[in-house]
Amino acid sequence: MRYAMVIDTLKCVGCSDCVVACQTENNVPHGYCRDWITEAVSGSYPNLELELRSERCNHCANPPCVRCCPTGASHVVEGGIVLVTADQCIGCGACIESCPYDARYQHPDGYVDKCTFCHHRLEKGQQPACVSVCPTKCMYFGDLDDPNSEISQLLKNRKHKTLSPEAGTDPHVFYLI
């Protein structure tokens, strides 16, 4: 089992619904977020391209945040999900520095927080909150090890990319382009 997320940039409108849904689902305090929207414009008027992306922790297979954590609070669980155990986190911030995606933040209560792929929802067979709320249905979640899963099929048939592949982190959030 290897969980991954596939996001279709051709459909994403950048509305940030994924951000609010995550905040209300996971009690993320106001002023913080576990996911966010990036807008990339290229070209000049009127020959333009716009890419909108919902970004978050990439749940990397080679996660620098886990390697650099001095207490073991940052760890990988079944399915390749990277989690933080809050009561083991001393808030040193090494993981925040090490993440090429800037996916982690210091929670006001002192520990480091980030996307969990809505682990608690997966346990109940539900999709992550962001995936289930998206009005454009541009986000897909599933098991990369299953060649017949929707995400495996999408990655097989569609052009895609990951963010900062040069960082060597083996990210598991894929963008259809």
Binding site: C15, T24, N27, H30, C33, A86, G110
Partner: protein, 747 residues
């Protein structure tokens, strides 16, 4: 400026301290080091769910509000069975709990008073506030007649108050949603197809092969079903053609973006018709069977070649031809979208006519992938005595516009300004759910009317700008805390949805149905409010519809089979359109008879003078009008707007990213607050762009106050649509100031 009897009061002043202390703070994650455990515990908490439908915008998606044992709402999730949202709310709906949890909400009734020469508000009991309002209702009726009391409204609270006003004898009712927004398209489509577009739009985007958007920015306007279906259309490989001076989100999803020069859309539409007809690409069978006036149209559009349009629109002739051919190739599964906020240049009904005619040529109306025949269920009327017949009302006030079919808020404003020749003098206003200061153009005129009005009541959940001008402020509870009327949706099939209070109203706020009834009971209209709780009304109606409140509480949404026939026209099917001729009217005799152009013509509109840029505005996907800017969740996503400026303009004016600037319009009106520059290729060099709704000047909106600029305050020029009275808002030009023009002014 208007010297004011009614001074704006920043709602605060007296005695709110005690209440503020007792108000429940936003309840988020309690300090807990065990995050995983905390989250799990939170999820494991018994959350009870209550059926509701959203009121953050007018789409009214059905949802479930989840509350914990303490009666605090934790999240709002779309109802899977709802055709408006299919289980997926938009960011505003998901963030709807912020409407409830916002600590800046209006908390208790307020009455204007003067203390030591200063106008201020004092807290009042509901008894006192309602008694005062009832007294004024009676007084206005005696002095001027009930017609002189106007209701200006938006959304669900408006319908309860509308009932009160009609029972009282006033039909002086209007909402900005008409003359400031979608009115012209209803006129344009009504004249052509004999049917309003209505809301939600009956566009079969899901199954379309070609979607044409003209200034309509689906994806930035989060009209949920439209956004969802545009995504389906992308999946299905539909061609999307977007006409917009700005590289909108929709433009970025399009195979063809036509970066049109603002205010020239009709020229493009005429030349598209020209190509379809000259190249014989139009749907001949359809036109022959269902339309009249084709020969007149053919002769009319003959001169409007793509070359002619190029000189006006700056769109290359090849692009015009290519896109016309794409539309024809996909037809009848082509939608030339009517748009929604269409009050632009004053000839808007005629532009909408052009859009409608184009759809007629393509055979889109009544065909799969085009427009479907919508259907809804009518909700049985809860019995009450007949309404008295008013001597005059919205219709008379706007009678110079022969095709006006709803009240025109701007005309109500004008009729409020004292004028001896005005046969329809308006003396008092009730305003519910609409912030007129940021909704209407020509703010000075609005303030003049506010100054003249003898009595002004505002019903709202939040202290908006308009609230500060009220004599009495009534705090309405949010949609998550109240019953409202049954939502009857117009879609591919009928459905109904209910709104049940998920929690008790916070603070000392009350639902609009209760407010209406309380006033009604006090002024002798008790027979019109023959119930103790609005729940009884809904229950009675649901029983008539073959369901029950108990059932609806469990399911939230009930879908019904169609009974009006198929969604689309059958092959060769006879069909009578609701026009005078019973046909699709390319040529409108009705318009000709009244001295209007029977077919749309292009009129030149002023372009910005040297040193000025056209002020364009639009929606941010995270906000609705000006009402959500203070919402703690949505403010988190976008707390202020920016001024989109093309890099060429930035170079000329030496503007840098995030630099604060002020705007001055053609009439010398200044933006109250600075707005940060966003240098972007996504906007033309002759225009600037900003999201609507920002630049609040009520300090009680702690998150929204002073954030960004208000487009509305800069819209002092309007061009009125002679057909239906719509106020064209896009003929305003601004210059960009880098120095604070207010710095020597006492505020």
């Amino acid at each position: 400026m208007v010297t004011s009897r009614r001074k704006f009061i920043k709602i605060s002043a007296l005695g709110l301290g005690g209440l503020a202390l007792s108000s429940s703070a936003v309840n988020l994650l309690a300090p807990n080091p065990l995050l995983d455990a905390a989250v799990k515990e939170n999820i494991a908490k018994k959350l009870s769910r209550t059926a509701t439908y959203c009121e953050v915008c007018f789409w009214k998606c059905a949802a479930w509000a989840y509350a914990d044992e303490t009666g605090d709402i934790k999240k709002v999730i779309g109802n899977d069975d709802d055709p408006h949202c299919n289980g997926r709310l938009c960011p505003r709906g998901t963030g709807g709990i912020g409407m409830y949890s916002d600590e800046d909400r209006l908390k208790t009734p307020l009455i204007r008073t003067t203390i030591n020469g200063e106008e201020t508000y004092r807290e009042a009991s509901w008894e006192e506030a309602l008694d005062l309002i009832a007294e004024k209702f009676t007084e206005i009726k005696q002095k001027y007649g009930p017609e002189s009391f106007a209701l200006l409204k938006h959304g669900s609270p408006g319908s309860h108050l509308e009932h009160l006003f009609k029972a009282y004898g006033s039909d002086t009712i209007a909402e900005p949603a008409y003359a400031q927004c979608r009115g012209p398209r209803e006129t344009g489509f009504g004249l052509t197809f004999g049917s309003w577009v209505g809301s939600p739009e009956p566009t079969d985007i899901r199954d379309t092969k070609c979607l044409v958007l003209i200034g309509s920015h689906i994806g930035e306007n989060m009209h949920n079903t439209q956004v969802q279906e545009m995504s389906d259309a992308i999946d299905n490989g539909a061609t999307i053609i977007t006409v917009d001076p700005r590289f909108s989100t929709a433009a970025s999803k399009s195979s063809h973006w036509l970066p049109i020069k603002p205010a020239t859309d009709i020229a493009l539409l005429l030349s598209w018709m020209h190509v379809l007809i000259e190249e014989e690409l139009y749907n001949k069978k359809y036109v022959e069977k269902y339309a009249i006036g084709f020969e007149e149209l053919k002769a009319h559009v003959k001169p409007y070649t793509p070359e002619w349009a190029y000189g006006i629109t700056t769109i290359k002739p090849d692009s015009i031809r290519e896109t016309a051919r794409l539309m024809a190739a996909a037809a009848p599964a082509t939608i030339v979208h009517p748009g929604r906020h269409v009050t632009w240049y004053g000839d808007d009904s005629q532009r909408e006519r052009a859009i409608a005619i184009l759809n007629g040529l393509l055979g889109s109306w009544g065909n799969r992938g085009g427009f479907y025949f919508k259907e809804k269920i009518s909700i049985p009327k809860y019995p009450h005595p007949a309404y008295p017949e008013p001597k005059w009302g919205w219709h008379e006030i706007g009678q110079q516009y022969p095709f006006a079919e709803m009240g025109n808020t701007s005309e109500v404003v004008k009729a409020t300004i004292p004028n001896e020749d005005n046969p329809y003098p308006i003396k008092a206003w009730m305003i519910a759910g609409t912030n007129l200061i940021n909704t209407l153009p020509q703010r000075e005129q609005t303030l003049e009317a506010i100054n003249a009005v003898e009595f002004l009541v505002v019903v709202d959940t939040m202290p908006m700008e308009i609230t500060g001008y009220a004599d009495v402020v009534l705090p309405e509870c949010t949609y998550l805390e109240r019953y409202d009327g049954i939502r009857s949706a117009t879609n591919r099939h009928p459905s109904i949805a209910v709104r049940i209070p998920a929690v008790k109203p916070k603070y000392n706020s009350k639902p609009a149905w209760w407010i209406s009834k309380q006033i009604g009971d006090r002024i002798g209209l008790g027979d019109y409010f023959n119930y103790n709780d609005f729940e009884e009304v809904i229950e009675w109606q649901l029983n008539k519809l073959g369901t029950s409140l108990d059932e609806m509480k469990k399911i939230g949404v009930k879908n019904f089979e169609r009974t009006s026939g198929p969604l689309f026209l059958g092959e060769g099917q006879d069909y009578v359109f609701g026009t005078p001729s019973g046909k699709i009217e390319f040529y409108s005799q009705e318009l000709a008879d009244l001295g209007f152009d029977p077919m749309p013509v292009y009129t030149h509109h002023p372009q910005p003078p040297q040193g000025f840029y056209r002020l364009n505005y639009g929606r941010s996907p995270m906000h609705t009008f000006s009402r959500t800017i203070n919402n703690p969740y949505l403010s988190d996503l976008k707390s202020e707007n920016t001024l989109w400026v093309n890099p060429r303009v930035a170079r000329i004016l030496d503007l840098k990213k995030d630099q604060p600037v002020w705007l001055k319009n053609q009439d010398g009106i200044l933006s109250a607050f600075p707005i940060k520059v966003r240098v972007t290729e996504r906007i033309r060099w002759d225009s600037v762009y900003m999201y609507h709704g920002f630049g609040h000047n009520n300090k009680k909106l702690t998150r929204a106050f002073g954030k960004g600029a208000s487009d509305a305050e800069l819209i002092s020029q309007i061009v009125v649509d002679p057909l239906m009275g719509g106020t064209g808002l896009r003929g305003n030009f601004v210059s960009i100031l880098t120095e604070d023009p207010h710095k020597n002014t006492m505020v």
